[in-house]
């Protein structure tokens, strides 16, 4: 697989220039050639069912997408448009910060595939998924 071409610092700037990512309180915890780790700061507005107080699936899906796309960004220079996304919900996420880990499945010329897992503060897998990213316009 190609080497990373951007630093975690540059990716962090890009990550939170994005307003919704900033609203989610995203921060890159680590980046190596294999994976990127991003933390999310929980907030009350993320609650879905107010009785069960679980975090909204839309937030978990956004995290899967961002973590997968920023691992693409590490390899391709910038995050690429998401073409499609699959998210699997494994457990209800109770209030608390989350952590997402993104990995490459394949970087290609026109489109690339990456996956991510989302863990709660106990380290339990709450969601995972994979996305297709259009990397064709990032070339040269």
């Amino acid at each position: 697989m190609a080497d990373n071409v951007v630093s975690a610092e540059k990716l962090q700037e890009r990550l939170v220039a994005n307003h919704f990512n900033a609203w989610m309180g995203l921060s890159i915890l680590s980046l190596d050639e294999e994976s990127i780790e991003i933390s999310m700061t929980w907030r009350e507005e993320m609650i879905s069912n107010p009785k069960a107080r679980v975090t909204h699936g839309g937030i978990l899906g956004a995290l899967v997408d961002v973590a997968a796309d920023f691992m693409i960004a590490a390899k391709a220079g910038a995050p690429a448009p998401t073409v499609d996304l699959r998210v699997d919900y494994h457990r209800a996420a109770t209030p608390g910060d989350l952590r997402a880990v993104g990995r490459i499945i394949r970087v290609g010329g026109t489109f690339s595939t990456a996956e991510a897992e989302v863990f709660d503060s106990d380290g339990k897998l709450v969601a995972s998924g994979r996305g297709l990213y259009y990397t064709g316009a990032l070339k040269q």
Copy 2:
């Protein structure tokens, strides 16, 4: 297909009791036996790339999920936990309110499948998708 068992009014209460749905400014525009139509009030925090000023894919994904799930809710009595979700992104969504239309694919005893389309204020399709919902626990 089974008849609706809940009114749009009851579903609207349930919709915005959910904090993140309330944050997205969701409102049920119409409900019949075939489809549910939900509007979203755009807000600045939904912006993804600040230069291109496009709406974050996580927001579009959340809308697909909510519209699909609330059509399930109309048939099954309550929204059901999302087991997995696929979202296709068709066009960049520029700032502005969005509208999602949810439809049933199949209501089953244990699992149900529904789909949704998301349109921008010009009526252009910006995203679509389908989700699997666990309706097994809604039986009594």
Copy 3:
């Protein structure tokens, strides 16, 4: 949406020049601007679990893919490479011929999305799904 640019007869030739499609006994039943209908001739080798005698999910998935892709072909001139596919299995398919109906979700310059439903001989929905097709190389 763009008009169809190929006849059902031309598409049928293309359909069964494909060896696996020929093995599945595929035949175009109808084609209009909105949808394509393809029949499949059941064969014993398609059985999955030999006790339950249900048709293998791989066959249903192939049918979803082919019906979606040949509706793309009707609009774009030729079937396009499948980039990814989601298949939902709604009911076990008992031995017997199947019928798939493909429809466009969106035809784009680089990528196109289409969906399909698969029905058993009683008209029951046994599977459905949607695929992403790379139509970028079909241009000019």
Copy 4:
């Protein structure tokens, strides 16, 4: 994660009792606590486009499904019904035997998620994906 509860020999019997799996010439190459490796014997009927002579996407999708489901089977005692499946196509698969590797994402009480990768005879990744399996009926 739970230990395997079935041997590779028992799973192989079950694998090829399935007619379509037998037609694909599937054989379990290895099984440990983390993964299952299954080989497929290529045959001429698997060809899609007769000029490009690539293997049909339906075959690759079936392989993803079977490898994921048989890793579920190793943990749960028997293959479980596929509820839905996502397949990503990374490269055209030229004629030749294929090898699929299945791994668990999560085994749950009602449903379980597993993934698989498909490699050509040069070891190149040609397809990958993940499926949701209904393991609720396997309990006793």
